[in-house]
């Protein structure tokens, strides 16, 4: 069944159609929330909240944009609201690492996970708008035009914001960059 048809059925209170849409997008919404919160429980709750909001707002969705774009927009706003409420708690949990891990201690998958942890920690130190754009592009793999639609900004702004976000991330990771040069 086409996505448009599923959406139209769901608009007419067909829960089974909405269920198919949930199955299609639950992982993406969960990944988005997880990469923005680094907490599985929170990400799960946020993903559920996204679908509840989407179901409520579905009768007002006019199908002018893609359903996924509309859903991502809801997700971004839900996550922003969450961060606004939890900003105090978040800051305490993020700035924990002060030491530079020794790359010699890690090998293979363990090394990769340690690097990933470092990157995530530093992404969470970025301003929210940079975190969002990095998540959408570099984790979710969204195209520039999709990001522009989701965030309601011009594609040129996507380009410049993404450039600044990546540059800032690299700057934050300056103490650990030697770890990332070893691989090539």
């Amino acid at each position: 069944m086409e996505e448009k048809e599923l959406v139209q059925s769901a608009q007419k209170e067909d829960k089974d159609s909405f269920g198919i849409l949930v199955e299609r997008y639950r992982n993406k919404m969960f990944y988005l929330a997880y990469s923005m919160t680094n907490n599985r429980e929170t990400a799960d709750d946020l993903a559920q909240e996204v679908f509840i909001k989407a179901y409520r707002a579905l009768p007002r969705f006019n199908l002018k944009s893609k359903f996924s774009t509309w859903l991502y927009r809801i997700a971004i706003n839900t996550i922003k609201d969450f961060h606004r409420k939890e900003s105090g708690i978040e800051k305490v949990s993020l700035n924990q690492r002060t030491d530079v891990p020794d790359a010699k201690n890690f090998k293979g998958e363990e090394e990769k996970q340690e690097k990933l942890k470092l990157i995530r920690e530093n992404i969470n130190k970025l301003p929210e708008k940079h975190r969002i754009i990095l998540t959408l592009r570099d984790i979710q793999g969204k195209s520039y035009s999709e990001i522009a639609d989701i965030l309601k900004i011009a594609p040129g702004t996507v380009d410049s914001r993404l450039f600044r976000a990546r540059k800032r991330l690299r700057k934050l990771m300056a103490p650990y960059l030697s770890l990332f040069r070893r691989e090539s």
């Binding site: 209170e13 829960k15 909405f18 269920g19 949930v22 199955e23 639950r26 992982n27 969960f30 990944y31 997880y34 990469s35 599985r40 429980e41 990400a43 799960d44 993903a47 559920q48 679908f51 509840i52 179901y55 409520r56 009768p59 990769k112 690097k115 990933l116 990157i119 990095l134 592009r137 570099d138 984790i139 793999g141 520039y144 380009d159 993404l162 450039f163 990546r166 540059k167 991330l169 690299r170 990771m173 960059l177 990332f180 040069r181 691989e183 090539s184």
Partner: protein, 163 residues
């Protein structure tokens, strides 16, 4: 090429292909600049790891847990819909009321209003239509009133009393 420009092109090249000129300029610059080569390597590794990461699955029974919440919230949605349409019904009912009032005014004939004496004279009507039957009864007091009125118009009219 400046390093800032080169950095921008390095990052763009990771998202989509550059135009031939930009590509050529960047490659030439990278051959000459070890600092930018180092940056390119770092960016590739950082963004590569970020893109390859595996996420955990959401908790099991996602839809089963979600479905009852949708049911509960659907009543809220219907209330919202009622609120939306209810708000629209207010101006609509006002409009209907005004239209009804207009139609009533136009199509139902109004009761005859009492005209002033000047208006009756202008319409060439007798202003004493209501008093004539009284005068015609022939009662004494009415005769007196009659005389009073006639004396007003007569040159030598005098008031006389007939007990």
């Amino acid at each position: 090429m400046k390093r800032k420009k080169a950095e921008r092109l390095i990052l763009r090249s990771m998202d989509h292909s550059l135009n031939p000129d930009e590509k050529e300029n960047l490659l030439r610059h990278l051959k000459e600049c070890p600092l930018c080569r180092k940056k390119q390597e770092e960016y590739k590794n950082i963004l590569g790891i970020l893109g390859e990461q595996e996420f955990p699955e959401p908790k099991p029974y996602f839809w089963t847990r979600l479905k009852p919440k949708l049911k509960r919230d659907r009543s809220y949605e219907s209330w919202l819909a009622w609120k939306k349409w209810g708000l629209r019904a207010v101006p609509l009912s006002l409009l209907i009321l005004i239209l009804f009032a207009f139609l009533v005014t136009v199509f139902i004939p109004s009761e005859q209003t009492e005209l002033s004496r000047a208006e009756i004279l202008l319409q060439n009507q007798n202003p004493f239509v209501d008093t004539l039957p009284l005068l015609e009864e022939g009662r004494v007091e009415n005769e007196n009133i009659h005389l009073i009125f006639t004396s007003i118009n007569g040159e030598n009219g005098t008031r006389r009393y007939f007990p």
